[in-house]
Amino acid sequence: MTVGLAACGSNGSSGTSSSSLVVETSFVLTTLDPARMFEPTGFMIDHVLYDTLLTYQGSNVTTPVPDLAASYTVSADAETYTFTLRKGVRFANGDPVTAADVVFSLMRTKNVNGSPSFLMAGITATAPSPGTVVLTSSTPNPAIPAILTDPSLGILDAKKVQAAGGSDAADAATADKAEAALNTTSEGSGPYTLTSFSTTTQVVLTANPRYWGPKPRYSEIVIRNVDPSVQKLDVLRGESQLALDLSPAQAQGMTGVQIVNGASPNMVFLFTNDNPKISRITSNPEFQQAVRYGINYASLVQLAGKGAVQAAGIIPTMFLGNLPPGSGAAYNLSKARAALAASGLGHPTVTLAYPSDLPVNGISLADLAARVQQDLQEVGINIQLQGQSLQVALASYRGGQEAMGLWYWGPDFPDPSDYLNFLPGALVGLRAGWARGADPALEAIGAAAATTTQNPVRETLYQQLQRSMNNSSPFMPLIQPAQVLVGATSVTNLQPSPLWTVDLGELG
């Protein structure tokens, strides 16, 4: 085995399945059962264990490409999607992949009531023929192709999972008992199969000899749970070939390795609670403008390091509907001071809450909060920092109790409709005290964007929506931190993925 590891450090060619790859990351992992998995490490692993109907290639997450589905059609109202399955695909155990397996897998994720079940909300899957799957949505849903790329909607061998106690019935939340089995043996058709699984130590994958697509380069992948500071030393010494969690500062100056810097899909934002019952100060529209123009965005980007960018809007740069760079709010101290004066609040003092133990792509929210405090001090706003442990901070954030908050949003699926959660009355909007009816014009744009099926029109609507929010809303998008991948030079085709960090099956 050690010989295999040494080989991967020297063999730069692809096309052979004879070596091992050691990947190091800080695990955020509780399960590999697709119906219950919704965490970064799980996404990366399940993506290569299970095929989905559609997927993305490389870093491009704007257009889904066929995976198990060879093609699909969509009705004009975006309520009915018909998928034709790829012929001749088999699971790693040799069973053929059928439409019944697809229906079972999707409905199981829906009915288990786990973290990813919301992906299938209002959607029903049926199989009119062995090679055809139809998804019917109760409302127009143009996001379905993007949603189907999610590894939580990976396709499992229904017979095997049912034999292990799995169920896709309406009572699957209590009836399904297959999780333990799926954490031992994967029942997918992806390029790798599960060899061993631990939520704290390592996960070992072995190449699937029956994989229908391009043969994976590595015969074995060992994914280890390692602290970022140790990841750096390991990849430099050749103990590992891929480090996934280094911050730009940690990656700076490393030599003898390849460093891929790109913006992550995480969007760090500030909000000022719009509910006067929570804060008379932060709900004042002029105060919100003072905050918006009083933040020195360039200094936050500099703090976040190489690869980070200012968030031009709530939708990250890699998704449909994103705003071009430079169109976000701009730092303007005199404008901020004028807005504060117009608010009639004098020099107010406000508490800014944030999770102190939740680094985002290696960036501490405490550091960002301190920089915001410093910027707003210049405007005349006194910020009292309130860093709390994540679980404590989450309760007040989700309850809409924070006067000002510094948080981040990671995409649930790669479609701009995921960001409609920021609108008045929606999930995140309510956390900022932004009640339904607070901005009827904006809400109308959001409603139109949610149901429009044509991508060019959608793009226009989402951009319009963000420009409106950049002018007036309780949200101030700050930055997209950098996502840094550090790999041995022997690893080729290393590309960051906003969804599964890196596609282990595509590495050369």
Partner: protein, 358 residues
Amino acid sequence: MSSASIPAPAPRRRATAGHRDLRRFLLRRLGSGLVVCIGITLVAFVLTHLVPGDPAAANLGQRAIGDPAAVAAFRHQYGLDRPLPVQYALYLKNLLHGNLGISEQSHRPVLADLEEYAPATIELALFAIVLSLVIGISLGIVAAAYHDRWPDHVIRVVSLAGVSMPVFWIALVAFYLLFFKLGWLPGGGRLDPAQTPPTHLTGMFTVDAAMHGQWGLFWSALRHLILPGLVLAIFTTGTLTRSTRASMLEIMGNDYVRAARLKGLPERIVILRHVLRPALVPIITVAGVAFGNLLAGTVLVENIFSWPGLGQYAYRSAVNLDLPAIMGVSLFVALVYIVVNVITDLLYGIIDPRIRLS
């Protein structure tokens, strides 16, 4: 023949009485240990529910937490939808059947998690404590024997440094130096990345590999054990050195030690036979507490060395409000302290017969 056999029953009676005393002692300690364990479960249960956080929020995704069906399913699955007294009573009932509940993080029985992670930490702690005992007691003896001379001064400074330096800092420096710069020892983990662990017997890889005669695996497991073991041992060694020295110096001031020297006994005999043995009682106390602390306090070292032990499991459980796991770890640590205390008490008796008689 009959007259010669008459006195024989006396020592047997004494032995039987001794065994009865020992049994009574163990039963008494077992009883008090049981009370302590129940107390620990109550304290852990109350404390974990006092934390201002929601286990459902901690374990469900940001979208699922907004879905009442998903939240209800989670609460029902982990029994969080019942009143607190009922939850605690159910926990105790399940505990009687050896069921510690299901971890909200790993989705596995807590007992299975403990069986997986505890041996790694026990192996690490045993390695560190053995190392600490050998080095710490030896240095303590030397320091006491050379009281106020240069070996004593050097050892005092070194042991003070050992107890003063933060463990995470020592760990990072040792990792950088011995792994990254010099390459003498492997980095993190219990084995090389692609190695398969030995068949499970004790869960301690060195022991299991040796028992299966897998000497290559044994060597790999041992090499991985050295660096985190050394780091953990540094603090304990410092503590043991200082307590051994202090304890020995106190004994050396006694009249019987002076008498032994005046009789002309060699200094080696005086130190080892007349000073060390009585000095061992406080040393054992320190060692017992240190072992318990090693088991309970390996979080930082396990994190830096990617050591998949109880420390990492406990940390993850705590930050994610995984109540069954927190309870399980608390109970396990309490049990270890109880067992270590019993062993310590028994050792007192072996070293000092006066304690045994009392």
